[in-house]
């Protein structure tokens, strides 16, 4: 990596960030803005949908229908990418139920993970996941928390070459194993990384996000609300009046706009059980976005210094 050139690219991209909002693929005001996956040039909306905990509702028919309604609102608002994992209990099955009841929307961008130590059992696990979703193939397959990545990555690359999936990625969260992540990003031809980034957990700004830009790796952001804890804390303070300058009507939009306005971020994947929240989250990907100065102001304000 060449730190100086990377920093220049990052600063350049940050300066251009406000243009990325409305200009980047925003077909109409209500549709979410998109960003391109560098390895293919395909554009995806800046906000997706996570499913950890929220979609693990088991066989509860009423709760499954409620999850399907969240998905319906998500697609109706222009959302595409849904993220899950075999680790999330019944979440994959609940996604499959939702997709089936919505008539299998063609727009879905399916992102799942392989999460098993034994490399030989990776393919079987992915096949089970695929059947649970009810999709012909996954768009993105990620190695969950880098578990046995050395054995899974070659399998994923082979599957991609054979057309059995479209993109390969790795994930981490809560700031873990950033060193390993960096080494893999620098050495492996992956398309995506998934990591934790939000108004307070910002370690990835130092190395991983600049490296993703430099290497042309798309970035999915998990825990944009710190699993809700960030929003709980922010709710104690009123939203500042200047949030209107970037069209924020809630703390959730404030937090999301901060994340998705980073030029290295391709898509944030907040999880929710609520239709109103999913609409609010998708709406954050539209209209005006913060520029670098505004981003700094947002972070300072949340840190209690603004």
């Amino acid at each position: 990596m060449k730190p100086n050139s990377t920093r220049r690219r990052l600063l350049g991209a940050l300066a251009a960030a406000p243009l990325l909002g409305p200009a980047a693929g925003l077909a109409q005001p209500t549709r979410p803005a998109t960003r391109t996956i560098a390895s293919s040039g395909e554009a995806i909306p800046l906000v997706g949908l996570g499913t950890w905990i929220t979609f693990n509702v088991g066989n509860d028919r009423a709760a499954r229908d409620a999850s399907a309604e969240v998905m319906r609102a998500f697609f109706a608002a222009g959302g595409r990418l849904i993220d899950s994992s075999p680790m999330y209990g019944s979440a994959q099955e609940v996604i499959g139920y939702g997709l089936a009841s919505l008539g299998r929307p063609a727009d879905v961008f399916s992102a799942d993970k392989v999460w098993i130590s034994d490399g030989d059992r990776g393919r079987t696990q992915m096949d089970t996941s695929r059947r649970l979703w009810g999709v012909p193939r996954f768009d993105l397959m990620q190695v969950h928390n880098l578990l046995s990545w050395e054995v899974h990555l070659p399998t994923l690359f082979a599957m991609k070459a054979a057309g059995q999936l479209r993109y390969v990625g790795i994930t981490t969260s809560h700031g873990r194993r950033h060193g390993d992540m960096e080494r893999i990003m620098a050495s492996q031809p992956i398309d995506f990384v998934q990591l934790t980034y939000n108004l307070v957990d910002r370690e990835v700004e130092q190395r991983l996000l600049p490296l993703a830009l430099e290497r042309g790796i798309a970035v999915l952001v998990n825990r944009p609300f710190q699993q809700g804890a960030l929003l709980d804390r922010l709710a104690r303070r009123p939203l500042p009046a200047w949030a209107a300058e970037i069209d924020c009507t809630s703390w959730a939009q404030f937090a999301l706009k901060f994340v998705i306005s980073h030029p290295a971020v391709t898509c944030a994947i907040p999880a929710t059980t609520r239709v109103d929240h999913v609409r609010e989250n998708l709406a954050a990907a539209g209209r005006r976005m913060p520029d670098a100065a505004m981003r700094a102001r947002m972070a300072t304000f949340v840190a209690g210094r603004g």
């Binding site: 905990i53 509702v57 088991g58 209990g89 019944s90 928390n145 873990r176 059980t273």
Partner: protein
């Protein structure tokens, strides 16, 4: 995962407390009127534990064996497994405990004399709490009666009642029956509620509290029991 120690309890959560509560609601609804039978069975359990003696002891362990087997299948394997992949292992542990209880009921040697007052009193309290207090928690927490956790239907009150019963009977092999039920209250679900800051998070440590005294009473020779009391030789 090679870095388990970097995970906090919150990171390992799998479901919300609302989803967990719904499981009990669906369990009671779908097996109705079995919950009524379970309540009646709790009364029988309490009466037998109160009565004491060898025949009551065997009957108690048989009832418990059946309950553990039922909870292993109906709760862990069928109800809980879809939202928690670890439930499959819990089901096996509950099955093992059912077999152990059955074996001791069938083959074990019992002392006809009642257990010492402290041990017996504490045991009866646990059985009573599992039978009556546990089902009251859901309505007390404002969730209504439908998700009530009942002895014989739900894991925690069943394990708690088992600890109580084991204290009321004097049985030589009973020591081997303690570890699994004692491990139940602090299980992953309790930890989950704790990590989620669910309103009933305080039940986890509270439900685990009896395990300490129960262990002491069960394992320390002469503790809570008359020193030198002997089980009669086994009749072939």
């Amino acid at each position: 995962m090679s870095e388990w120690w970097t995970y906090s309890l919150r990171d390992l959560l799998l479901f919300s407390s609302r989803t967990y509560t719904r499981l009990f609601e669906l369990h009671n609804q779908e097996w109705w009127p079995l919950p009524l039978f379970a309540l009646a069975l709790g009364a029988v359990l309490f009466a037998l534990a109160w009565r004491g003696g060898e025949r009551a002891g065997r009957a108690l362990l048989l009832v418990l064996a059946a309950c553990w087997l039922w909870v292993a299948w109906a709760w862990h394997a069928q109800r809980y497994a879809p939202i928690n992949w670890a439930a499959e292992y819990f089901a096996w542990a509950w099955g093992v405990q059912a077999v152990l209880l059955g074996l001791v009921a069938w083959q074990g040697r019992f002392d006809a004399a009642p257990a010492a007052a402290l041990r017996r009193g504490f045991g009866l309290f646990l059985v009573g709490a599992a039978w009556v207090i546990y089902p009251l928690l859901a309505p007390l927490l404002g969730r209504g009666w439908t998700p009530a956790e009942l002895f014989g239907m739900a894991p925690d009150p069943t394990a708690l009642a088992t600890l109580g019963v084991l204290l009321t009977i004097k049985q030589r092999q009973a020591g081997g029956l303690f570890p699994i039920p004692a491990a139940v209250p602090p299980d992953q679900r309790e930890a989950t509620l704790w990590a989620m800051d669910a309103p009933e998070f305080w039940i986890a440590p509270l439900a685990s509290l009896p395990c300490g005294p129960a262990f002491v009473l069960a394992y320390l020779p002469g503790c809570g029991d008359k020193p030198g009391t002997q089980c009669p030789p086994r009749v072939a």
